[in-house]
């Protein structure tokens, strides 16, 4: 029962009902980190453990032997769990919560594919409670020439492969330890925070896959023979980068968490700067590895910001959320120092309307517990 070891990747989501449950919910992208995920870091966390045939046999025989000791008087009146309450989330297995967060998020996500002279994908949010469909992210499909030009950058980052190999290899799955390092997160104290990080990454990955699927951009190694990536090229489109989406979504959520725990860290601004810098490095390391163009990181980082802000709003942290549109420019390298208004205008970023996202009781439940972990 590999929870986030994820060789099976996203395919595992359908595995509900089978022994071992949802298996791969976290495993998007292949081999993941087995530590510090928060959601099921321990084998079978919250999901029961008696699954091997020998133990099942043993339970059967022991139940036969001992049940007489309970006597056969009538049953007692029992207390019921509360109806439709997020307070019950703590009772459920980790993967069940994961499934609920995912369903909650995706039920409010809509996408529109524009065809014609300018091809683009528009992502929108509409509350389950009703209301407008609000576009929060639009990305146009760049010409092939943009990516040909971008190949130069991919090649110019190649020389950093020896130095970044440990990072590239240990970030094939979710790079949670790289964020945990900055905030000093540990599995004992911060299991809810780690679950929040994992949920954020899973949601970000799902959203990125939708966009990637429609835009269908070929990877650098397919258009440039000398890219020669140092890791196998993943089986999905290049643009936007899911690693960038996930990393910048996590950064946005953790920034919110640092803000909500102001008294915990003496140096919250430094922590937030480091989170952004780490997200940048995670994204750029994928270019170093030879599997992403810098504009993939741009598209992903912007998408990640929006996913992170939706999550914060669902968690009850009210954020003004201004949608973003991205039109990739061939000459753009990806740098954190440009990833802000107004500098990013030079790189093809423009604003859409403001969006409203309603609070979700389930997300709020997880958020409150995560914030509690930073109570001094």
């Amino acid at each position: 029962m590999a929870y986030f070891g994820g060789i099976g990747g996203i395919g595992g989501i359908g595995g509900i009902g089978g022994i071992g449950g949802i298996g791969g919910i976290g495993g998007i992208g292949g081999i993941g980190n087995l530590n510090a995920t928060g959601l099921g870091g321990l084998l079978g966390a919250g999901g029961g453990s008696a699954t091997d045939p020998l133990t099942v046999q043993g339970l059967l025989t022991s139940s036969q032997a001992i049940s007489q000791a309970a006597g056969n008087s009538s049953s007692h009146a029992s207390r019921e769990l509360e109806f439709s309450s997020s307070e019950n989330l703590g009772n459920w297995a980790d993967w069940v919560r994961g499934s609920l967060f995912l369903s909650d998020f995706l039920s409010e996500l809509h996408w529109e594919v524009k065809k014609g002279a300018s091809e683009s994908v528009v992502l929108s949010h509409r509350s389950r409670g009703g209301g407008d469909t609000q576009a929060f992210y639009e990305v146009t499909r760049p010409d092939a020439a943009v990516f040909e030009e971008q190949l130069k950058y991919v090649r110019s980052y190649m020389d950093q492969r020896p130095e970044r190999t440990p990072e590239v290899l240990s970030q094939l799955g979710f790079p949670t330890p790289y964020f945990a390092m900055i905030l000093g997160l540990t599995t004992g104290r911060n299991r809810n925070t780690l679950e929040l990080i994992t949920v954020t990454q899973v949601l970000a990955a799902h959203v990125a896959m939708i966009v990637k699927h429609h835009l269908a951009i070929r990877r650098p190694d397919r258009i440039g023979a000398t890219v020669l990536p140092m890791i196998p090229t993943p089986g999905h489109g290049s643009f936007p980068s899911a690693h960038a989406t996930e990393a910048f979504a996590v950064t946005r959520v953790l920034e919110g968490l640092v803000d909500a725990s102001q008294s915990h860290y003496p140096d919250p601004d430094k922590r937030k700067k480091l989170l952004g810098k780490q997200a940048e490095r995670i994204a750029v390391s994928r270019t170093v590895a030879g599997v992403h163009y810098p504009v993939d990181s741009w598209a992903g980082a912007l998408l990640g910001k929006m996913v992170g802000e939706i999550i914060l709003n669902k968690c009850g942290v009210s954020q003004v959320m201004t949608g973003l549109k991205y039109e990739a420019k061939a000459e753009s390298d990806f740098m954190l120092s440009m990833y802000k208004d107004p500098d990013w205008k030079d790189h093809g970023v423009s604003e859409l309307q403001n969006c409203q996202v309603a609070e979700s009781a389930n997300f709020k439940w997880l958020w409150d517990r995560a914030v509690d972990e930073f109570d001094l």
Partner: protein
């Protein structure tokens, strides 16, 4: 592409002879050009560079006048000594390739002849270097760059103790993080670096305010503005143009581990994490060599940039002296750099050029020090020694092992002792399995009256389809100094372009024949192979060739890596010293570590196993180590810890490259505290006497050759 084909190769050799160029130039711009680094192969080279050697010293006015006389444009980078009208023989120059067509040896010769017509090309020499990329060139800058807008930092004089003298410490290297926290003052806002020159950065100044001819210069105020405006150092270096590619070579500054970051840190860094108080009285200058720096570890292509860096540092140092009101400002330059071949008598072009400018400045009463590493090739089998008794039946044969999958050219130099005319000698070379063959009598070709006496021949490989050229054999009287040199240049064993002829890999046998009329008793003849390694994983595909000899002992009787030379083998460790570090004005530093045998007593060091040395015996000489400094923490903890490129990062670096900057640091401290008289008296010994150091006693002659008698900590 190129005009190379096996058929016209002899024409190219002829062209090399007509237009006087040295054997490395002849190979890299002639028959070896298809294998040369990409910048030389380009068809659109616009700005050629060279180190020009005039027959006699010229003042700036005379030197630049020659450029005006010609229609072809020529430029000089920042030169020291202009205001004092110091005459110099060695000048770095940039020359326009007006044809804009592919260069040939003939057009190259014409270019150089034309710009220095007033001088008589016949007597001048040129050492060519990497071209300047057009984006980095200030072609409208006029013959000399503008003056920098610079003013002293008033807080320095306030903070400098009265007993300290303000002085200058400069570092020439690559991947230097000029905005690093360790090079700032205690407040973290003021930079201690007064000037920084990035030799290959794209220029972004207007031509009339261009302070350097190529690349980009940043003054202290500009560096401080960068520090203020960018809290992200990645963005800072990008904005400064320090992280751009040049000719497709990545800038090292985007890595954490570079060569220049720890070297500059050991020389001049003060780490706030270690509560080191920044030294205000020592003002810093940094010169970052072009990105092309790692391309050729034989040093070909870089001499011009190195000399330009020395001139720039000294020119700016005078401004610092004037600004802070210090007469005869004392300057220490660290250059952790070198190459393995060369004459090893202090007479290589670069050594002579640096010596000249240092001596001229010392003559004016201005203390000037050059600190260099002794090199890391002690165990690499790059050096051989042929004594007069080794010629059995008038012949000596040795083996040059050339590695497979080597994508760069290989060079082997044979040097005759001073005054030995090899006219009655010949050299023969035979490839593995007799695949290639060449033989040459060591008499200069009389057809070539101009320039140094010399001779060229191609090395051909037999193929079923005919003969193809895979190498070049040459003889020259190096700088007419009566040091005769044979250079064997071989093509890569696996060229980047697979359709080019490859030199066969394996054992190349070289036979030196001594005629009966030649003197039978002479000083040793030396062999040096050029270093050929990919220093920092820049993917150039270098593989090191070496001298192969079954009698050479790699392991000693105790099973350790041998540190001594036996008498059985002509392949030697002693004599492997950095070919650039023999010059009369340089202080040469080896690397050492504490020894387990003395309970790790840091004051009783042994040489780091790679640390190169001069000769230890009484016969012959090839330069010497002056002093030693730590290059390893111990034999199980290799290297020294220094700064990475980003503030707060650390890297481990090993090599004599990290020993030299510590000596430079101690010398700058001595310059800050010693009297004028003490310094003057130490000048002849290149200031070693005033450096704080530990005298090493009871050394064997081998230990003395490796450690030099003093330890600097």
């Amino acid at each position: 592409m190129n005009d190379f084909s096996p058929d016209n190769s002899s024409d190219l050799v002829a062209a090399a002879l007509k237009s006087y160029l040295g054997p490395y130039e002849a190979w890299n711009f002639g028959i070896g050009r298809p294998y040369a680094f990409s910048a030389y192969r380009r068809e659109d080279i616009k700005f050629l560079t060279a180190l020009a050697e005039h027959p006699s010293p010229k003042t700036a006015e005379a030197a630049t006048g020659a450029g005006h006389a010609s229609e072809r444009r020529m430029w000089f980078p920042t030169m020291w000594g202009r205001s004092d009208n110091v005459p110099l023989r060695f000048w770095p120059i940039v020359v326009e390739n007006r044809s804009r067509k592919e260069m040939t040896l003939e057009s190259l010769g014409a270019d150089l002849r034309e710009v220095l017509a007033a001088d008589g090309i016949n007597k001048s020499r040129f050492r060519l270097a990497f071209p300047v990329e057009p984006s980095a060139m200030q072609e409208d800058a006029g013959t000399c760059p503008a003056e920098p807008e610079w003013s002293p930092d008033p807080k320095v004089s306030e903070g400098c103790p009265p007993e300290k003298t303000i002085n200058v410490l400069a570092v020439i290297d690559d991947g230097i993080p000029f905005a690093h926290r360790n090079f700032r003052s205690a407040d973290g806002e003021r930079s201690r670096m007064e000037f920084c020159w990035l030799q290959s950065a794209a220029t972004n100044s207007a031509p009339d305010s261009a302070n350097v001819l190529f690349g980009q210069e940043y003054t202290r105020k500009e560096i401080e503005a960068f520090i203020r405006n960018y809290d992200d150092e990645d963005a800072l270096y990008a904005a400064a143009g320090a992280s751009l590619d040049q000719f497709g070579s990545e800038a090292a500054i985007n890595r954490i581990a570079t060569h220049g970051a720890p070297v500059m840190d050991i020389a001049a860094g003060c780490d706030p994490n270690k509560s080191e108080a920044p030294v205000e009285e020592t003002r810093l200058i940094a010169v970052q060599l072009p990105n092309t720096y790692p391309w050729d570890t034989s040093s070909f292509g870089k001499d011009m940039y190195m000399l330009s860096a020395v001139h720039y540092i000294l020119e700016r140092a005078e401004r610092i002296g004037a600004g802070y009101g210090v007469n005869n400002i004392r300057v220490t330059i660290n250059c952790s750099y070198g190459f393995s071949a060369g004459p090893h008598s202090g007479t290589s072009v670069l050594e002579a050029a640096i010596d000249e400018v240092v001596r001229e400045r010392r003559k004016l009463g201005r203390p000037t020090a050059i600190v260099l590493p002794s090199g890391n090739t002690f165990q690499d089998r790059l050096h051989g020694e042929i004594s007069s008794n080794d010629f059995k039946k008038g012949e000596f044969e040795f083996t040059w092992r050339v590695q497979p999958t080597d994508r760069t050219s290989n060079y082997l130099e044979i040097w005759f002792p001073e005054g030995l005319d090899p006219g009655d000698y010949s050299v023969g070379i035979e490839g593995p399995f007799k695949s290639a063959k060449a033989e040459m009598r060591l008499k200069p070709d009389p057809d070539y009256a101009d320039g140094d006496p010399r001779k060229f021949q191609v090395i051909q490989r037999d193929k079923q389809t005919g003969k193809v050229v895979v190498g070049q054999l040459s003889l020259d009287n190096y700088r007419s100094s009566n040091r005769w040199r044979v250079l064997v240049a071989l093509a890569p064993t696996e060229p980047d372009q697979p359709d080019l002829p490859a030199a066969p890999s394996g054992d190349w046998n070289i036979t030196l024949k001594r005629g009966s009329e030649a003197a039978q008793d002479h000083l040793p003849i030396y062999i040096w192979i050029q270093r050929d390694v990919d220093l920092e994983a820049f993917r150039k595909g270098n593989r090191q060739s070496y001298l192969s000899d079954p009698d050479y002992r790699i392991v000693d009787d105790r099973g350790g890596e041998a540190q001594s030379d036996g008498t059985d083998s002509h392949v030697k460790r002693f004599g492997s010293i950095n070919g650039m570090a023999i010059g009369g004005t340089s202080l040469t530093v080896s690397g050492c570590m504490p020894s387990a045998e003395t309970q790790w007593d840091v004051e009783k060091p042994i040489a780091s196993t790679f640390s190169a040395a001069g000769k230890s015996g009484s016969v012959g000489s090839a330069g010497k180590v002056d002093c030693t400094a730590p290059a390893d923490r111990s034999n199980i903890n290799p290297g020294i810890i220094g700064a990475g490129t980003r503030s707060g990062s650390y890297v481990m670096v090993q090599g004599t490259s990290v020993a030299a900057p510590l000596v430079a640091r101690r010398l700058a401290e001595a310059f800050a505290s010693r009297s004028e008289e003490e310094i003057k008296n130490a000048e002849a010994d290149n200031y070693l006497p005033i450096i704080e150091k530990i005298e090493l006693s009871d050394l064997t002659s081998e230990e003395r050759a490796r450690l030099g008698g003093h330890l600097v900590l």
